[in-house]
């Protein structure tokens, strides 16, 4: 439903951040972008979302281009309740839909805290609120920029499973930027390893989703996916 072809971009005429980057994303698919800092991962998300315009290449949509964004920082409005924060996308579009907001809050298990303000919540709860806000926009594509990087490992595992459940349930596509090999291997249908503004290689973990989360993380498919990514990243370093 989304194809990006030969994207090129540079900030302030410096060395190009993206140079001939391409990707495709299908509905219900999780694609991770993995690579060293400054390889252009976040720039891809900004171009796909329309916040930035590519200098070359183009982004093609084969469905409604409605995207939602989740950042590493929950980026909640501190002066608004969780419910008001989650309702932000519908409020801005002028179509306030209470049932959709309630549904999004329920999906991340925050219904009981909807009247609280962000400062009263834990880091994990705030991130769930941030995901709920994205869900309430009812996106066909979810763009996530290292969303769980600031969480501790137990919370990150929980958020990973929550995300996989939501994808299975709602069928949106996810473009996921991460620094973590393990997170990429666990979440993704495909991992794009990036180098100097383009895709250096693709890894397909193909985990057996019928296993428990820990069994998946201990499976040989998981280990060889991590191995393949490590090899690609080592080649990049040299």
């Amino acid at each position: 439903m989304l194809t990006a072809k030969n994207l090129a971009f540079s900030y302030d005429n410096a060395k190009p951040v993206l140079d001939g980057f391409s990707l495709s994303l299908k509905a219900g698919e999780v694609v991770s972008l993995l690579g060293p800092s400054g390889c252009g991962k976040s720039t891809v998300l900004r171009i796909v979302s329309g916040l930035l315009d590519a200098e070359q290449g183009r982004v093609e949509w084969h469905s409604d281009p409605d995207v939602a964004f989740v950042f590493q920082d929950p980026a909640l409005m501190p002066w608004a309740s969780i419910e008001q924060n989650v309702a932000l996308p519908s409020r801005l579009s002028g179509k306030v839909d209470d049932s959709r907001v309630a549904e999004a809050l329920a999906a991340v298990n925050l219904t009981s805290l909807e009247k609280r303000f962000p400062a009263m919540l834990s880091g994990g709860q705030r991130m769930r609120a941030s995901v709920a806000r994205a869900l309430s926009a009812n996106p066909s594509t979810l763009l996530m920029d290292e969303p769980f990087a600031a969480l501790d490992e137990i919370l990150r595992f929980q958020m990973n499973d929550l995300l996989l459940d939501l994808v299975a349930e709602r069928g949106f596509g996810v473009l996921f930027v991460t620094h973590s090999l393990f997170e990429a291997a666990y979440l993704s249908d495909r991992v794009l390893v990036m180098q100097e503004g383009k895709v250096a290689g693709e890894v397909i973990p193909s985990l057996d989703r019928s296993l428990t989360p820990n069994a998946q993380r201990g499976s040989s498919a998981f280990v060889s996916a991590v191995d393949a990514m490590t090899t690609l990243l080592k080649v990049i370093e040299q």
């Binding site: 979302s49 329309g50 916040l51 995207v67 939602a68 964004f69 950042f71 920082d73 980026a75 409005m77 501190p78 002066w79 608004a80 309740s81 932000l88 996308p89 409020r91 801005l92 579009s93 303000f117 962000p118 400062a119 009263m120 926009a137």
Partner: protein, 254 residues
């Protein structure tokens, strides 16, 4: 409790020492009157003090209102156009760094000969306006970049961006500046009255000058005391406003 009791205890101790020192050393009352004498000067002339306080407070409030409106509007204009900000901001700084005592005589001559209050309000506005402009500008610039991106992504109109993002972000900054500007407006009003001298002035500053000219030092102290009360009233009103507004928005910790 400590926050109230300790300063009150210290103040009481100071008054007692003052009274004791002045009495035992026979200090003449035209050099340093005793606290009890000052208290009598307040009580005996209550209608006068209330009248003068009301006049000073009215100048302060008018100047502060003008400062809030002009400071907020100018900060908004700055946030809309960097060019406009670069052009105008230096003038605001010039107005701020030039001592108000030096500007006051001019303002008095231009608009204050027949109506001192008008000049007082303008002078007080000049000093009160800059902290509001500076803080409001800083507040509007401190908008969370990610949130700003989300507003763009979800198609916010300019009005929505202002009402739902810029204004609430800047509000704590504005409230903090009011505590400063409230005190400055009072100072500006007093300075104006000192510069104007007699004429039609009716505020506390004029009562202080008048008492000084008659060598009624205890009345000077009484006037100072009333000024201090008004200053604290203004400061704590805004501190309270800040506390309740921020509490209502759930961000008293930020």
């Amino acid at each position: 409790m400590k926050r109230f009791l300790l300063p009150i205890a210290a103040f009481t101790a100071l008054l007692l020492f003052w009274q004791y020192y002045v009495t035992t050393n026979d200090v003449p009352k035209f050099v340093l009157p005793s606290p009890s004498l000052i208290w009598l000067a307040i009580i005996d002339n209550m209608p006068l003090w209330l009248d003068a306080s009301l006049s000073t407070l009215s100048v302060t409030i008018k100047a502060l209102s003008a400062a809030i409106i002009s400071g907020v509007l100018l900060a908004l204009a700055f946030s809309l156009s960097r060019t406009f900000e670069a052009t105008i901001y230096p003038f605001a700084i010039i107005l701020q760094v030039t001592p108000v005592v030096a500007i006051a005589p001019l303002v008095i001559i231009w608009v204050g000969i027949d109506n001192v209050e008008r000049a007082q309000v303008i002078i007080a506005w000049i000093v009160a306006f800059f902290p509001i402009l500076a803080n409001m500008s800083a507040g509007l610039k401190s908008v969370d970049a990610n949130l700003s991106d989300l507003f763009t992504l979800y198609g916010a109109t300019r009005l929505q961006r202002f009402r739902l993002l810029l204004w609430p972000t800047a509000l704590p900054y504005l409230l903090a500046s009011l505590k400063v500007s409230g005190g400055l407006a009072l100072i500006g009003g007093v300075v104006a009255e000192f510069v104007a001298g007699s004429g039609t002035a009716t505020g506390l500053a004029w009562r202080i000058i008048e008492a000084g000219n008659r060598l009624q030092i205890e009345k000077m102290f009484a006037g100072l005391f009333m000024l201090a009360i008004i200053g604290m009233l203004v400061f704590y009103s805004f501190a309270l406003l800040e506390y309740y507004v921020l509490k209502r928005f759930g961000q008293e910790n930020t």
